[in-house]
């Protein structure tokens, strides 16, 4: 798996992607919120890129931009060789749309409560058009089987299912047109561990069978470890570390990554290390230097004045931290 990263062309190439929001108003002056700044990464065929980071660090924003739900402010997204940002982005997006899918955090909210399961699952098919009724019905049945649900459920409505089942229905919809890339935004956060395991297993099975790629967004580092090939750590809208899974967990480089891993609660162990203090800086007024600097135990002078760039510190590992400049 790891070797593939070197030999295969990425299906997704993201360069210097940024997204600003205009906030404020009501007497106060408008302000620009930098939700995502200068993110660059690739996704290879058949891999899962895990995305972790503090709440509000821009994970969902990146995911939404990747499938065209949100236009980028700056930067470039290339999907399957088509650049979907910029002036001709719309047409480009239309060409590759059927290869993209998005699994929302809350499966209940992501299904129209007034549509039958069959219609929900077949929505991408219906949009595409050109299917006979029988083909469509067969495909729906096939998809239901694929996610481990009985084809007899096709006529029911979303509210008649449990959380785990709903999550699987949303995944079935995402698979309807054999996409090559799926963004999973907190797809398992609300489930208990057993149900969570069911869904994760399903995703991994599908990846193996169909060669899918995922962008997997989650808070739970254990879950991320279970599904990801590589992991990007986000902090205040910036990618601070990008690494393959094993190295990241065994040898976290960036101080924030280290703090995250140290803070994982474990049922077996009784204690965890004291967490780093302080709060994420406001995305409105960025300090001039490294964004983590006020909270970083290892910060030094340079951190306060100069923002570190994301650079390769080892094969397949990138970190944005002045500590590793010499390496």
């Amino acid at each position: 798996m790891k070797d593939m990263a070197d030999t295969t062309d990425p299906i997704i190439r993201v360069r210097n992607l940024s997204r600003d929001f205009q906030v404020g108003g009501r007497g106060r002056k408008r302000q620009t919120l930098h939700a995502v700044s200068d993110a660059s990464f690739d996704v290879l065929p058949g891999e899962t890129l895990g995305v972790v980071g503090e709440s509000g660090s821009g994970k969902s924003t990146i995911g939404r931009m990747l499938v065209g739900l949100l236009p980028a402010t700056r930067g470039e997204i290339e999907l399957f060789g088509e650049t979907i940002t910029g002036p001709s982005g719309k047409q480009a997006l239309a060409k590759v749309r059927h290869k993209l899918q998005f699994v929302f955090q809350d499966p209940h909210a992501a299904m129209n409560p007034r549509m039958r399961i069959s219609d929900i699952i077949a929505e991408p098919i219906d949009v595409r058009g050109g299917w006979t009724r029988k083909d469509r019905a067969d495909r729906v049945a096939e998809l239901l089987e694929l996610v481990g649900l009985s084809a007899a459920f096709a006529d029911r409505f979303p509210h008649e299912f449990s959380g785990g089942q709903r999550q699987r229905i949303v995944i079935a919809r995402a698979l309807a047109l054999d996409p090559a890339f799926i963004v999973c935004d907190e797809a398992v956060a609300a489930l208990d561990v057993s149900m969570q395991a069911q869904v994760i297993n399903l995703l991994m099975d599908l990846q193996q069978r169909l060669g899918l790629s995922y962008l997997f967004i989650a808070h739970d580092l254990a879950v991320v470890r279970a599904v990801s090939t590589r992991i990007a750590v986000l902090y205040a809208g910036e990618i601070v570390e990008l690494s393959d899974k094993r190295s990241l967990y065994t040898d976290p480089k960036h101080p924030y990554t280290q703090a995250l891993l140290a803070a994982i609660p474990r049922p077996e162990v009784g204690t965890r290390k004291p967490p780093i203090r302080g709060e994420v800086p406001s995305l409105l007024n960025r300090p001039p230097g490294c964004t983590l600097c006020p909270r970083c135990p290892k910060a030094f002078d340079r951190c306060r004045t100069e923002a570190p760039a994301l650079r390769e510190v080892a094969p397949g590992r990138k970190v944005a931290c002045h500590l590793y400049d010499g390496v």
């Binding site: 899918q101 998005f102 929302f104 992501a110 007034r114 649900l149 008649e160 919809r173």
Partner: protein, 295 residues
């Protein structure tokens, strides 16, 4: 897959049962029941008017001018000696039709405009300003204008009333649609490549149905009343059409001496409005998934 679930099929109600459940929810709802009952009776009376009354609604007998309610004239007679009972019965046909048709037209127009302006944000400003302007058009001017263009007839009144209510419905639908458009399943549809038409009709419309339906029942009641007001100003359905509004408007000079002329159609209007509003309340509650309905 080890975890493929197989549960007894009975665990989840099949489609027809769902409809039955909905009907039962409706039926259990007290005000829906009462409202539906009232409306049903009025509709029945309108349909069965020829059976319930032998007379013709416009048949005059000036001998019986202002005959008070009696065995011959259950609701009394008007200044032409026309039987108010017969007129009210036949009037139900016109008034209910006016209420129904203008409510439906207003709903359709309002839904289209409201959803379009919620979805196409660029058009929103201009569409809503046009709606503001349309609000400024008094139903009266529309009624007169449309009367002039199409000739004085019931359908002119309907079109006038419908156009007067479109902007209001549009605002209600727009408000609801603005909420729906931000929901995840709309984004999900967009990811699936759905275009504006599909999103509007497949996703937004069904989910703004609840406020729309409730408003429709409001408009229904309003339209009947508005028809009466138009008749009062002499621009309702052309006489001798026995619409309820016309009967009342024609009886207003005799409001004290021959109170029955106004009273009975007035009661009919009140009853129909009451029925529709109760029905609307019921629909509102039943479409509210949080509500459990007491038996």
């Amino acid at each position: 897959m080890t975890d493929a679930t197989t549960l007894p099929a009975a665990a989840m109600p099949p489609r027809s049962a769902r409809r039955r459940i909905l009907m039962r929810r409706l039926w259990r709802h007290r005000s829906f029941r009462v409202g539906a009952g009232i409306v049903a009776v009025i509709v029945l009376m309108a349909v069965a008017a020829p059976l319930l009354s032998g007379g013709q609604p416009n048949a005059m007998s000036l001998r019986n001018r202002f005959a008070p309610p009696s065995a011959d004239f259950i609701f009394g007679a008007d200044n032409f000696g026309r039987d108010i009972f017969t007129r009210v019965l036949y009037g139900a046909r016109i008034s209910l039709w006016i209420g129904f048709a203008s409510a439906m037209l207003a709903a359709a127009g309002g839904a289209l405009v409201g959803m379009a302006s919620a979805w196409f944000r660029k058009l929103d400003g201009i569409i809503m300003r046009i709606m503001d302007a349309l609000l400024a058009f008094p139903a009266i001017l529309l009624a007169i204008g449309i009367n002039a263009a199409l000739g004085p007839q019931v359908s002119s009144v309907i079109i006038a009333l419908a156009s007067a209510y479109v902007p209001r419905m549009a605002r209600i639908v727009r408000a609801a649609a603005l909420v729906v458009r931000e929901l995840d399943y709309v984004d999900a549809a967009r990811v699936s490549g759905a275009g504006a038409g599909r999103i509007i009709f497949r996703h937004i419309l069904p989910n703004v149905m609840a406020p729309l339906l409730v408003s429709v029942t409001f408009v229904f009641a309003y339209a009947i009343l508005a028809e009466a007001a138009l008749s009062f100003l002499g621009i309702g359905p052309p006489p001798p059409h026995p619409s309820w509004g016309n009967i009342i408007a024609e009886g207003r000079d005799y409001s004290v001496e021959a109170w029955w002329i106004m009273l009975f159609p007035g009661l009919a209007i009140s009853l129909a409005a009451l029925g529709m509003n109760l029905l609307g309340d019921g629909l509102r509650d039943v479409l509210d998934p949080r509500l459990k309905i007491e038996a």
